[in-house]
């Protein structure tokens, strides 16, 4: 009897490890992170729909009004605008810009990192060394420079933050890609003359999603922080736009008599940052042993 026919010898099926997402959700830390992030994101998303008053309109003649009065649940700010309204309105812009900046940074950094690792040689050196130059510039100084030259427009904000993220993302992507490009399935694709960009998209990218997801979460946190601090410094969103960073700056003068104008946005930013950080942490843990080549 041939070996092929014997059922005992034909190999048993191997159980596949659960996917990244399921391993992520299994962790309690991730659940808390998702809950925190979701709370803030929901406020930011649906806040503008339930605005009691217009975001820039005046509701009271009393500057820095006390909370829990008919003019506004959390009082009014230094110009007599309703704090709650501005809070509900200001989140979406921050989140959107942060997400855009992160995404753009991921695309620039991811592509250059993958290209550097895959091509190697001179291309690798050129990309990574110019990366080092960018890394040498302090993030905030670079942002200040660009914004003072180009003006505080929203596309400048997004691009500047994306560019400061890109070199860090490129490093992570490159090191993850280096491990994948030595695998034989990349050689196989090359053997069949699959276009290089297609190899990167089909074969490399799906196998480095773990570290990239971690990086995505981390960069999102930093983007939120960077946007809020730029707004606080007066270089981000310009008044009278409602924005959490800007709100902190505007209301810090009256902190002692009307703390709500600062507390609400600070709380939201803090909760969001902690939430995304928790998710990132658990993502890192979930993807730790889900890499190529560890299947046996």
């Amino acid at each position: 009897m041939s070996v092929i026919d014997s059922p005992q010898l034909v190999e048993r099926e191997v159980e596949a490890p659960p996917g990244l997402l399921r391993r992520l959700i299994r962790q309690r830390q991730a659940k808390i992170g998702v809950a925190l992030t979701a709370a803030v994101v929901l406020i930011a998303l649906f806040g503008p729909l339930v605005l009691p008053w217009g975001a820039t309109g005046y509701t009271s003649t009393e500057f820095a009004g006390r909370p829990f009065k008919p003019e506004g649940l959390f009082g009014t700010d230094n110009l007599g605008r309703d704090v709650l309204t501005r809070f509900l309105d200001g989140g979406l812009r921050l989140l959107m810009f942060a997400a855009l900046a992160t995404l753009l940074g991921m695309i620039i950094g991811g592509l250059s990192g993958m290209a550097a690792a895959y091509r190697g040689g001179i291309v690798d050196s050129a990309i990574m060394r110019s990366n080092d130059v960018l890394l040498a510039l302090p993030q905030l100084v670079f942002a200040l420079l660009a914004i003072t030259v180009l003006g505080p427009q929203s596309w400048v904000l997004v691009t500047v933050i994306a560019i400061t993220h890109a070199p860090r993302i490129a490093r992570v992507t490159r090191s993850a890609t280096v491990a994948v490009v030595t695998e034989d399935f990349i050689r196989a694709s090359e053997m069949y003359a699959v276009p290089k960009w297609k190899i990167l998209v089909q074969d490399v990218l799906p196998n480095i999603t773990g570290p990239l997801m971690v990086e995505l979460g981390l960069r999102m946190t930093y983007s939120i922080g960077a946007l809020a601090s730029l707004s606080f410094l007066g270089l981000g969103m310009q008044p009278p736009t409602a924005d959490w960073g800007l709100m902190i700056n505007e209301n810090r003068i009256a902190l002692a008599i009307q703390p709500w104008g600062v507390i609400l946005p600070v709380l939201a930013i803090a909760v969001l940052t902690v939430g995304t950080n928790l998710i990132t942490d658990s993502l890192a843990r979930a993807s730790a042993n889900l890499n190529v080549g560890e299947s046996k």
């Binding site: 070996v3 092929i4 695998e183 034989d184 699959v194 196998n207």
Partner: protein, 564 residues
């Protein structure tokens, strides 16, 4: 375990005995279902089984160690010389740690991974002695380190002790590993596939070292392996394991030559042998009765090729390699290779690691474009590198990679991976491609149900079949197989070899089978080229080379092959 198995008569007191050992995963799935065996001083017991049979788990249990996710659920292990001769699994972890390396020690599979690359080997051996408080002084320990190096057959000079692991060959590294395990004069050595990564000549040396240690110093050895030929050479007794159960045990001669259990018989029938007495799978072995070109296949192309003798250098040769040279800096990898391959012919490219056999096969497949020389396919010179070749040339030469664990993208389904060559030739629609993929999967005996599965759901053998299907989907004229079975179990190897032979007969393609395992010769190839240091040192029909090897190196290889 079966109670019908007759225990061999025990003349001496066993040094280690495992009784009804049960181990389960923390989630409750039992892995070992009551395994029992005993080790006698000076004897080597082989624990044989395929991957997943629980042999390593049982071996580690002897050291009182359970890998993460496993727990001990029943049974006892008694080790002689541990005080009251009690069950070591009852001891607290701290006590067990004292036993390891002292009374019982472990030699892991890959010495390159188990030795510290930043520490000289002398220091590493002395460290083991120091941890176990061997001897009274530093002097004693230094003397012992010197002594143990001599015992495993290595040089015991000071300069040798100052070497780092990377300055040693694989065989020497493994012997250092054995020296470390043996430094404190343990009563039991657990060896976990210590020769798997080594080539035959080195393997023979290591096996000899182990046998000598057992004989001279009365050490009991537990030799974990899947290689029955090695068992025949080194072991006194054999325990055969199948999915966590002992199916057969007895003396080596009894188990290997009069196997009782069906599984043992199957395992034995899967072992390739040099003399071609057995057949692996369905296809007949190649002996002197067979002509250099396989007549038995009866395929048109094979018969056509037969009419023109393959030795004559004319246009019928599918592949011709002339003056192929490749060097990286001063390191010459290939030093002028010339050979030709006829249509429908299968040739074995034999060589040890570092002989340049993989480089040569990659040059032919176009994966390596740094070479100088000419590779001709059907009389037309191929450009180096696949991207420079025409689509038709790419389709005609196909390459199967060594490790199926690396050659398939884990994130793509079987269908997506197999259809890549079709996609790149680019004339078929998605549906047509799927039909062709299904045909290729049928050829490698995998059904439709595999189409949408991912490599993670498949075993090693199944993955290798998928990789072969990818190479076959475009109906190649030449299949280059690079060590395709070296990552697989013996029985899986047998089925893959069987498959390749059958496919070759069915499709009439030529095959270049690259391997380090000379035992496969009669099962796969009509001709053999032996490669050493980037040169072909022996070349001829399988029978000719095996019976009348021309080169010293081939003779040495043949002399060191372990056989049953």
């Amino acid at each position: 375990m079966s109670t019908s198995v007759v225990e061999p008569p025990t003349t001496t007191k066993p040094v280690l005995s495992a009784r009804d050992l049960r181990i389960a995963t923390t989630s409750g799935y039992e892995i070992l279902h009551g395994v029992s065996f005993t080790l006698q001083p000076g004897k080597i017991l082989a624990l044989v089984g395929e991957s997943g049979s629980g042999k390593t788990t049982a071996g580690l249990a002897c050291l009182g160690h359970f890998r993460r996710g496993l727990k001990h659920t029943g049974g006892e292990i008694h080790l002689a010389g541990t005080g009251d001769y009690g069950n070591i699994l009852d001891l607290p972890e701290a006590e067990r740690r004292k036993l390891r390396g002292g009374s019982i020690s472990y030699v892991p599979q890959d010495p390159a991974l188990s030795l510290n690359p930043a520490m000289t080997i002398g220091r590493q051996i002395q460290e083991v002695l120091q941890v176990h408080h061997y001897g009274d002084s530093e002097e004693d320990r230094r003397a012992r380190a010197k002594e143990v190096l001599a015992e495993v057959g290595l040089e015991n000079s000071e300069t040798y002790q100052r070497r780092y692991p990377h300055q040693l060959s694989g065989g020497q590294q493994q012997r250092v590993g054995i020296a470390m395990a043996f430094a404190c004069r343990p009563a039991v050595l657990v060896l976990d596939e210590p020769t798997t990564g080594l080539d035959v000549t080195t393997q023979a040396l290591v096996l000899q070292t182990i046998a000598e240690l057992a004989e001279r110093h009365g050490v009991a050895g537990l030799y974990i392996t899947h290689d029955l030929a090695v068992v025949a050479k080194v072991a006194d007794e054999v325990v055969v394991m199948l999915s966590g159960e002992v199916v057969e045990k007895g003396s080596t001669a009894q188990v290997l030559y009069q196997p009782r259990h069906e599984y043992t018989q199957k395992l034995l029938s899967a072992v390739p042998d040099l003399a071609g007495r057995r057949q692996v799978g369905r296809v007949a072995v190649i002996t002197e009765e067979h002509p250099a070109i396989n007549l038995a296949s009866g395929h048109v192309t094979a018969v056509q090729a037969l009419q023109i003798p393959p030795s004559s250098e004319d246009r019928s040769n599918l592949l011709e390699v002339a003056g192929l040279k490749l060097s990286y800096g001063s390191n010459k990898v290939l030093g002028g290779i010339d050979f030709s391959l006829a249509r429908g012919e299968s040739m074995m490219l034999l060589g040890e690691s570092g002989s340049g056999k993989t480089t040569l096969s990659r040059c032919i497949a176009g994966l390596n474009d740094d070479y100088t020389g000419i590779v001709r396919l059907n009389g037309h010179a191929l450009s180096p590198g696949t991207r420079a070749r025409t689509a038709e040339q790419r389709q005609q030469v196909q390459y199967v990679f060594q490790s199926p664990f690396s050659s398939l993208n884990p994130r793509r389904t079987v269908c997506e991976s197999v259809e890549v060559p079709l996609q790149m030739s680019g004339t078929l629609s998605r549906k047509q491609r799927r039909v062709r993929v299904l045909e290729a999967l049928d050829q490698v005996r995998l059904g439709e149900s595999y189409l949408d599965r991912r490599p993670g759901d498949l075993s090693g053998g199944q993955r290798q079949r998928v990789a072969i299907a990818r190479a076959l989907v475009n109906a190649p004229a030449l299949l280059v197989c690079d060590e395709v079975t070296s990552a697989l179990d013996v029985s899986v190897q047998a089925s893959i070899i069987d498959l390749l032979r059958t496919l070759q007969a069915e499709t009439g393609m030529s095959m270049l089978f690259v391997t380090h395992n000379i035992c496969l010769a009669r099962h796969i190839s009509q001709r053999i080229a032996v490669l050493q240091h980037g040169r072909i040192v022996d070349f001829g029909s399988t029978d000719e080379v095996l019976k009348h090897p021309q080169h010293e190196y081939t003779r040495e290889l043949l002399a060191n092959v372990p056989t049953i």
